[in-house]
Amino acid sequence: MTHKDYSHNTKIATLKASSSLNKGYMVFLIPGVLLFLLIIVFPLLANIGLSFTKWSGVGTPVWVGFTNYMKAIRDSYFLTSFKNALLLVITVTTIPTLIGLLLAGFIFEYILDKFGRGIAIFFRVGFYLPQIVPIVVVGIVWRWMLQPNWGVLNWSLKAVGLDTLTRSWLGDTSTALPSIMMMMIWFQIGYPLVIFIAALQRIDPVVYDAADLDGASRLQRYFYITIPLIRPEIFVVVLTTIIYTLKTFAQVYVTTKGGPGRATIVPSYFSYQNFFIRSRVGYGATITTVLTIIIGLVAIGFIRMQIKQEQEG
């Protein structure tokens, strides 16, 4: 037997062996799957089950069918919590994404050319920094700035003679939610910016040649060529921000606790109140189930688009 034949035979043998050996991998799936069943699947199903019960957290839950859901659609707190979440989703998704698009273009096309890499990186880092600070700390910083009597914002307004504008920003029904929006927008800008700058770096400059020949300005080039090219990234940013914003909890917990009244109530915080403060576990479970369905639908839409993009790309 020649050497060549020998290696050929071994290859066939190993191919057979490896296909049978493929089963040996199942063992590695077991710990993960068991932990997922225990920590994710079982609690999720239990929570859905609890949403059909009345339960204070001790004793036995009482089956009440759809009562909690019927109650929810007439409960103004429940409705306001989702309305506030929607307002947050709209503002916190669109504004940072738009600012991110403009800033990314500005940094990539202008700062990088005029001032060099160092300054461009400084800008990117500066905008991204809030993203790695715990949202709780961000909340404390903003609460401190918005403090009614001696806070930075009111102090500044007084200093320039705009005393009439000073107010308790987080304590006033009309300004509490917009204040939280401002804080979340400030926190969020770095995320689209960094993703978009990375996207701009992957674009091959060759695509600009035709536009340059036609005498398009840099601004035109950015809006008509670059932005359509980075659509996949814009899509990722928008959907992930929607999901992130629907989960808003800490931002409200450290600043307003849902108040004043129900001005800043959001689904996560409302469910927390029902679970752990008011001992209405069934109702808390109902709120979280509804929230999960909404997030699930957004996520499924996201995954489907991802798959579509992968197939096209």
Partner: protein, 254 residues
């Protein structure tokens, strides 16, 4: 963007009278560390720092171990139902923690893990490893089949294949995961808030949220507290800057 950070730094060094006399914008007169020291002691900062480090390190390591094992089966082993599992893990990761929290809270009380750092470590690790599995599976799928077959010809068993070949080859991806898991768990708020109720096992984020009431209205104490919350993150940022930039798009899902 950096303005709020500059403000809290500036005002953490002031005395109360200095703040109320000259306002938030005047530069601090001397590097007065009394306010910071006071907050440090009020918050038991050293204990919280230790807890945050213990929890974040354990979560990052445990989540990577779970992800490695599952992703090894899915990405290298290509076991049956692979795409179902990957879809499932991705969906699991975007679930709001609120929908799992009450059953988990009840369960932790039943098994005596309520109010322990271990309960938080296990829950967060499993949540993160759903993302880790998704991420590593796609990387492992791209590994050359010949390499894996060659290893098997050499008589490598599955464990050896995982630890001698796959792990060393995927070190860059593992380090990105480690950094992100560490920072994510450092910033985690909801689960620790529910599961850690005693002072000696709480993390920095929880201590921050709890402390606001205790410090009352003195603005210098509040800014010092915020500064103590920001400092560790600046340190991580400097330490991990390279890895963070490399994996920046990874954060997109969180």
């Amino acid at each position: 963007m950096l303005f709020p950070f500059a403000l809290i730094t500036n005002n953490s060094f002031k005395t109360e009278t200095e703040y109320y006399a000259n306002g938030p914008y005047s530069l601090f007169k001397s590097l007065n560390l009394d306010t910071l020291k006071k907050v440090w002691n009020l918050m038991d900062y050293s204990i919280k720092l230790r807890n945050s480090i213990v929890i974040s390190m354990s979560v990052a390591l445990l989540a990577i171990v779970i992800s490695l094992s599952t992703a090894f089966a899915l990405g290298i082993g290509k076991v049956k139902g692979k795409s179902f599992f990957i879809m499932f893990f991705l969906l699991a990761f975007v679930l709001p923690q609120e929908v799992l929290v009450f059953p988990l809270y009840h369960l932790s009380k039943l098994v005596g893990l309520y109010n322990t750092r271990l309960s938080v470590i296990i829950i967060i690790s499993v949540l993160y490893s759903s993302f880790g599995t998704y991420f590593l599976s796609s990387i492992f799928s791209a590994f050359s089949r010949e390499l894996i077959e060659a290893a098997e010809i050499d008589g490598c068993n599955k464990l050896q294949l995982l630890f001698r070949i796959i792990v060393p080859l995927s070190m860059p991806s593992l380090s990105i995961l480690f950094v992100f898991f560490f920072i994510w768990s450092w910033n985690e708020f909801f689960i620790p808030l529910v599961f850690l109720v005693s002072n000696d096992n709480q993390t920095i984020t929880i201590a921050m949220a709890m402390a606001q009431g205790q410090h009352g209205a003195t603005l210098t104490l509040q800014s010092a507290a915020a500064l103590l919350g920001v400092i560790p993150c600046i340190i991580f940022f400097v330490l991990f800057q390279r890895t963070l930039t490399k994996g920046i798009t990874l954060g997109s899902i969180k």
